[in-house]
Each structure stands twice: as structure tokens, then as C-alpha cells.
Amino acid sequence: MASASLPGAAGGLGARRWLAMLARDPLACLAALFLLLLVLAALLGPALIPESAGRMNLRLRNAPPFELANGWLYILGADTLGRSMLARLIEASRSTLMVASSAVALSFLIGGTLGVLAGYARGWGATLILRMADVLMSFPSLLLAVVVLYTFSPSIKNIVLVLAITRLPVYIRTARAEILELRERMFVSAARVMGAGPIRTALRHVVPFVLPTLLTLAAVDFAYVMLAESALSFLGIGIQPPDVTWGLMVAQGRGYLASAWWLAFFPGLFIMLTTLSLNLLASWLRVAADPQQRWRLEPGGKAGDAP
């Protein structure tokens, strides 16, 4: 039928098509823009912000926001040591994004791999992985955090480790469930008939299908990890000064909610906007990646989609 000659269907135009679909969802578009700015700020921020803004300046202690008297750097106010909130937020964005993305990446990679293995391997290997996921699931992250922080040093690296381990089971379970279904797909059988070995089949035909699901999960998890990190900071077992993250800033600023609200408000706002953006983008992605839903984001429908 005519579908074979649909415009814009060829692979080379993919990027433009995705952008067009993004443009049709204004919220997702804003979300993407915000995340882009955020990443840019985290990468380039330190180069743009003068070093002095991050230095202690007790004269400006708890300077309120939205006043230009102290210069644009202090537009969001100053913290308890008189450091520019803006500069602190940008500095914190680096470690926040670093912690969240490495924790998510780690649990994604390890959990995904284990999940794929559990889906493929039958017998006690799969059982072992699944029971391990059960154990991890009910192992309190707080104890894990204390163990890691006490036994090792309280560094960003170890916080990442703690957060990654707590999220492992989710990936293991999701990946496994997907694999169980994919394993029975016809094109997987077809590959076996061609003589493809299990590794090749997994990498070529199975993993590419699990990835989108896991990526969506990762986007949502990114938010979860940021919030978990801030909760650890609240309990005093998270990131330790002089390192700084948004979560830590909120935790430290909570004592000032009544007197200097901006100390906790702005980092909280950034956490909220980032998680919100990721979630919006993830739900947009779910629609965009699903051929049955995609028409919602496209100008006009596709012939092939008609029943």
C-alpha cells in the first residue's frame, strides 16, 4: 500500500521528526528546554560565575532575593554565609546531576544486565538473582547509607553507590519481565533458526526492546534519586559539606523556613522543576515511542494506523 512511500518515514529524518513531535507538546517542550539549560548551567556555570560569589561574605548573610543592590549574582539572595544563592545553586547542580545520573546509570546498567540474565537463565541462576532483588528491596536504604558512610568515607562516590544499590531491584524486575515476554517473540525464534547464539540474539534482538522501557524508568528514577538523596541529607547521612547538592541545601535551609525562606525554597524548586521536567518528558516519550499513541503528537494520522 501507499505506506511504503510515506514522507518523513525514512530513518535519516528521524531527529527532525522527533523534534516536530516535541514541538507539538508544549509542556514537554518547556521541560526539554529547562533540562537543556540546566545541563548547560552545570557544565558552563563555573566558568561564568566569578569565584567571589561562592566565597563567604558575612556582610551579605541571608540577603533576601529579588534585590539588585548587591549585583545580579545575588538576585536569588544569599545564604547563611553570604554566598550567592545563584552561584551555590549552580555549583550544587553539578554534583546533584552527577550524583543522580551516575546512580541511575549504575543501577540501570547493573540492574538491567542482571534482569536480562534472570530473564534468560532458567533454574537457580534466575532464582538467585530474583531473591537477591527481594532482599535488596527490603533492605533499608538508611542502614545501607550508614554502613557505607561509616565503613568507607562519606564521599559523593559512596552516596552514589548507596542510591544505586537501592534502585537495583526495580531494574532487575522490569528487565526480566520484559525479557520473559520478548524471549517468545517470533523474530527471536527466527534468529535462532538462522544460527544466532544466545548472546547475539540478546544483544541484537532483545536488548534494543528492553531499552526504551528501562530508559523511561530511568527518567522517573532520576527524580526519585534526587529526592532520596535529599531525604538522606535531612537525616544527616547524605552528602557532606563542603560538597553541596540541592538536597543538602534544602535540608540545611529547612531551619530557616520561617526567617529566610529562600534558602530552602530555591533548591527545593529546582528539584521539583527538574523532576517534573523529567517526568513530563518521560510521559511524552511514552506516547512518542508507542506507535498506537503517536498520532496524538503528529500532524494528521497515518494510513497504516487505521483498523
Binding site: A4, S189, H205, G300, K302, P307
Partner: protein
């Protein structure tokens, strides 16, 4: 109330919300009277199902939208009625049955509840009364032990029984109009015949009008009074069944009729030398039933394949026919070594397949290929056609040097009737028939000696089916392939096979040269199968129906 029961005038349905939508239905008109059956015949994508949805007000909108036209039911224009009014008509005056009954029955409610719901919703019956009525309805459509089975769930019934339940639900309030959307597709032929009988009885006893949506000319010949042929959103030809099927006017109808297998006598087959390449000996596959705390086998088992022996010779086509659950697909999977047999042996050129390993196994994999039933599922949707066809070469590196891949891909695509430039596209950009061609091209990439076709043409429209069969035949002649051709459709097998084996409940009940089995069937099951298979000729079909009744009566 003069006029027709249902009169559709200039109905047009568009898909897509903004900008360039697609006209799925483009100004069709037809009518239906009480006690009459109108068949709307068309292939996939012709717009026939969409039209039915429009009558029931269950069109997915968005993206679907009725652009213009009217649907008069008992003189009232349905399209101008308010939503609530139409809901009241649905189920009470107009009822519908669907093709995929497993998906169309709610999986989480008992069938008794689902039938009773209609009664409660429209007639305000109490739960107890509605249930009693539901049981009675189930009995009337021939469900054994209806009182206890009313508590069962859809997945606990066979496909035929589910369609009976669907009919019971639809007939609950004796509607004036029944819309039947491909009611027998995907059912075995014997079951199909029973369902058609049931529909006929229901129609005749209530004098309702029946709108039958189908792609199957045999079904049309069996049950319809008049037929409207749909093609690309338009009705191209309409008239009494006998006239349209007997003397088609429109070129599309003519093409359709000529594509039906078995209308022409099968072409002469080239002679086959007696060189067995593939042999199955007493092949058995049991799936053990497990239970208990540690999932130990209970000792019982599902006997999917039960002592099957067969031989495939070089350059030969062996057809295997059987209804769903007869074990023919399990047999194919064992022959492909995707499944280990419980007992018995498979010999490939005299060697036991299950003992193959390493290079020998690889060589087996190279020489035996498969084409699966579902062209949508058997191609990895994330790979381009070129990658799909070249994948065997990345596994068997010695077959073809990389430099020649592109040229060979182009050759293969031309061979299966596609264009070389298709290589850059993805599977979803092709139609079902085209995808099956791609699957065949992939199977041929390794220049195999044996191709196992597991229901390879079952999901395709007749016209496409005919093309693929012709292609397979042509390739066999050119390359000397041997086919193991598995199908449930007897005329298709008859057209392509040299020999045929009939499977029932895991066993081969009859085996022999094609001509002999089809002309002089020995086993009663073979005879029943043949009798139930409809032909696209109303008179011949009436004859067969009579013969079948007699056969059942014996």
C-alpha cells in the same frame, strides 16, 4: 415504517485529526432489509470494519471522524441521535459480534455475568432473573452444562465456544439488526461451519437483518443473500451473491475470485526423486503438567505431538494440515530444533539433529530455514530490511563476502518481487504481503535446501496469498527447494503440496499423495475437514452443507 431496516447513504469516514487525514471510507451507500443477510466483502484496509464501527457508534474518535453521510435505522438517522439514545439502541435493537473473541470478551468477568449484564442494562432484570436467562441463552447456543459454565471466564472456553457466547450475548434481546464483523475468521473450518449454521438459525428464527463483514468468499457464498464488495473505501460492486460471485463485473472482484485457491485444478508438479533429506521417527513431545510446592511434574502431560513419523524428500513439498491444537506448530519447532522432542528422532541426511553441535549445527542452521505465520512478528521492527536479510551472513561468515552483500540483497529483493531500494526501509513501512516476501528473502539468503513454512500464508488476504504461493512455487522450481508446508487451509495445501499429512491431536491420521487424500479421503476426520471447507459458489456450497449434515448424521 416503510423502507429498509438499515440504510446507509454516502457515508464517509476520515482518520487523522488535523491537516492531511486519510479517507478510510469514501461515500458508501447500501441497505439491508429484515430477515436478510448482506455481506460486505473486502480485504484488509478496505474500510469494511470501520463502517461497521460507525453503525455501532464505537468508532475510535479521535482519530476517526464521520465526515458526511447518514445511517438510517428503522427510519431514524443514527448520526443525528444523541449519544445516550444510541447507547439505548445498542444491544437492544442493534447488536454486534466480533472477530477476536478472546480480546472482545472482558477477560476478568465470568461469561454468565457478561451475558446477564446486557439483560440488566436494557430490561432492568434482577441479577437472579438475568442470570437464569443467561444460562438459558448459553444453552440455546449449544454450550454444554450452561449452569456451571456460566461461572467460567472467557479464556476457559475454546474459540468456537467463545463465538457462541458472543452470539448468545448479541441475541439476548432479539435485536432487529446484527452486525457480524468477521465472525468466523481464525476459527477452524469445522467450527466455522457450525458457527455459520448457528447464525443462520438465529437469523431465521427472529427475522433480523444481518450485516456480515468478511473477507472470505466461501463464507459469503454460504450465508449471504446479497454482497457488497469494498475496495479502498468504496463499494465497487453490489448485488445478489449468485450474480456477483458467478459473474463478477468489476475487475477487482474478478481478481479476488481468481485468487481463491482450489478453483483451478492444481498445476502439474515436477517429479520428485526418492532422496529423503529430513526424516522424523516416532516423534513425541509432551509438556509435563507441574504442581505442588516445588513445581514437581505431576506425571500427567499434554501430548502435543504423539508419535509422528514423516519423510521429506529433496525438492518435494510436504503439506501438513490440521486444526488449531493439532500439534503441527510444535512439530515444526522440533524439526527446527527450537524445541527438544520428548522421544523419537529427527534425522537430517541421516544424522540425528539433536546430536548436532558446533560447526555441524551451524551447517544445519544454514541449510534449514523457516518462514513463520505472522509477518508482523517475525521481523525485528528495529532493523532495516537490508540488515534483516544480511543478518544470516553475519552469522555464517563464509557464505558471502561482505563486498557482495548489497548486490545480493538487491537480487533477493527482486527475486521475491520487491524493489532493491526497499532495502533501506523498516518492516513497518510495508504491507503484510510485502513483509512475508522479506521473510522469504531472508530465508533464501543462506540458499537453504529446506524451508519450513509454518502457516506462512494464513494471515494474508487471498489475493496476496495467491501471489506468495506462486512465488514459493516458482522458487522451488528454480532452486530445487524442499518445503514442509504447514497450514490449516486445505485448498492452499492442495494447490502447493506433492504429498499431504493430516494431523489431529498430535497424530498423523492420514498421509499420502495430495490427489489421493483430497479425492479419496480414508479417515473420517479428513472427510469432515474437507466437507467443512467452504467454496465461493453458493450452489456448490449449499450442496456441501447438505453433504456435511449427512456426514454428521451418519
Amino acid at each position: 415504517m416503510s423502507g429498509h431496516l438499515l440504510e446507509v447513504t454516502d457515508l464517509a469516514i476520515r482518520f487523522g485529526t488535523t491537516g492531511g487525514g486519510v479517507q478510510a471510507v469514501d461515500g458508501i451507500s447500501f441497505h439491508l432489509d429484515r430477515g436478510e443477510t448482506l455481506a460486505i466483502l473486502g480485504e484488509s484496509g478496505s474500510g469494511k470494519s470501520v463502517s461497521a464501527s460507525a453503525i455501532m457508534a464505537i468508532l475510535d474518535c479521535p482519530p476517526g471522524r464521520i465526515a458526511r453521510g447518514s445511517i438510517l435505522f428503522e427510519g431514524r438517522d443514527l448520526l443525528s441521535l444523541p449519544e445516550s439514545e444510541r447507547r439505548r439502541l445498542n444491544g437492544e435493537r442493534i447488536a454486534m459480534i466480533f472477530q477476536d473473541t478472546l480480546a472482545h470478551l472482558n477477560p476478568v468477568y465470568s461469561v454468565g455475568w457478561q451475558i446477564a449484564e446486557t439483560l440488566q442494562a436494557h430490561k432492568g432484570l434482577s441479577a437472579r432473573e438475568a442470570r437464569a436467562e443467561a444460562v438459558r441463552l448459553m444453552e440455546s447456543v449449544g454450550i454444554p452444562e450452561p449452569a456451571s459454565r456460566a461461572n467460567d471466564y472467557p479464556h476457559q472456553f475454546s474459540g468456537g465456544q467463545r463465538q457462541r457466547l458472543m452470539i448468545a450475548m448479541a441475541m439476548a434481546l432479539k435485536p432487529a439488526l446484527l452486525v457480524a464483523d468477521e465472525p468466523t475468521t481464525a476459527l477452524d473450518v469445522t467450527v466455522q461451519a457450525q458457527i455459520l449454521d448457528l447464525l443462520r438459525e438465529a437469523r431465521d428464527s427472529t427475522a433480523m437483518g444481518m450485516l456480515l463483514i468478511t473477507h472470505d468468499l466461501g463464507v459469503v457464498a454460504d450465508i449471504a443473500d446479497r454482497v457488497a464488495v469494498m475496495y479502498q473505501g468504496r463499494i465497487v460492486e453490489t448485488g445478489p451473491v449468485r450474480e456477483v460471485l458467478g459473474n463478477p463485473q468489476h475487475s477487482y472482484t474478478q481478481r479476488l475470485l481468481s485468487a481463491v485457491p482450489g478453483r483451478e485444478p492444481p498445476p502439474a508438479r515436477p517429479p520428485v526423486a526418492d532422496l529423503p533429506v529430513f526424516e522424523a521417527r516416532e516423534l513425541t513431545k509432551h509438556f509435563p503438567i507441574t504442581g505442588g510446592l516445588f513445581r514437581r511434574p505431576t506425571g500427567e502431560a499434554v501430548r502435543a505431538v504423539d508419535g509422528v513419523s514423516l519423510t521429506l524428500r529433496r525438492g518435494e513439498t510436504l503439506g501438513i494440515v490440521g486444526e488449531s491444537g493439532s500439534g503441527k506448530s510444535t512439530l515444526a519447532r522440533m524439526l527446527l530444533r527450537l524445541e527438544e522432542p520428548t522421544s523419537g528422532a529427527i534425522l537430517f541426511e541421516g544424522k540425528d539433529v539433536s546430536s548436532l553441535a558446533g560447526p555441524e549445527l551451524l551447517s544445519f542452521r544454514r541449510r534449514v530455514q523457516v518462514v513463520f505465520q505472522d509477518p508482523f512478528a517475525s521481523l525485528d521492527p528495529r532493523m532495516r530490511v537490508a540488515e534483516i536479510i544480511a543478518e544470516p551472513w553475519t552469522i555464517h561468515r563464509d557464505v558471502l563476502p561482505r563486498a557482495r552483500w548489497n548486490a545480493r540483497i538487491a537480487e533477493l529483493l527482486s527475486l521475491v518481487g520487491l524493489r532493491p531500494e526497499h532495502a533501506a526501509r523498516y518492516p513497518h513501512q510495508f504491507s503484510g504481503g510485502q513483509r512475508q516476501r522479506i521473510a522469504i528473502a531472508r530465508a533464501l539468503a543462506l540458499e537453504p535446501e529446506i524451508v519450513i513454512c509454518d502457516e506462512a500464508v494464513s494471515a494474508l488476504d487471498v489475493s496476496i496469498q495467491a501471489q506468495i504461493l506462486a512465488l514459493l512455487d516458482q522458487l522451488q522450481r528454480a532452486m530445487g527447494l524442499a518445503y514442509l508446508f504447514i497450514a490449516h487451509d486445505l485448498p492452499v495445501v492442495r494447490q502447493i503440496a506433492d504429498r499431504v499429512a493430516v494431523m489431529q491431536r498430535g497424530r498423523i491420521v492420514e498421509q499420502g499423495p495430495c490427489e489421493e487424500v483430497f479425492e479419496r479421503p480414508q479417515h473420517p476426520y479428513t472427510r469432515a475437514l474437507l466437507a467443512a471447507s467452504p467454496v465461493p459458489d453458493p450452489d456448490a456450497q449449499a450442496e456441501r452443507r447438505k453433504a456435511r449434515r449427512e456426514l454428521a448424521g451418519v
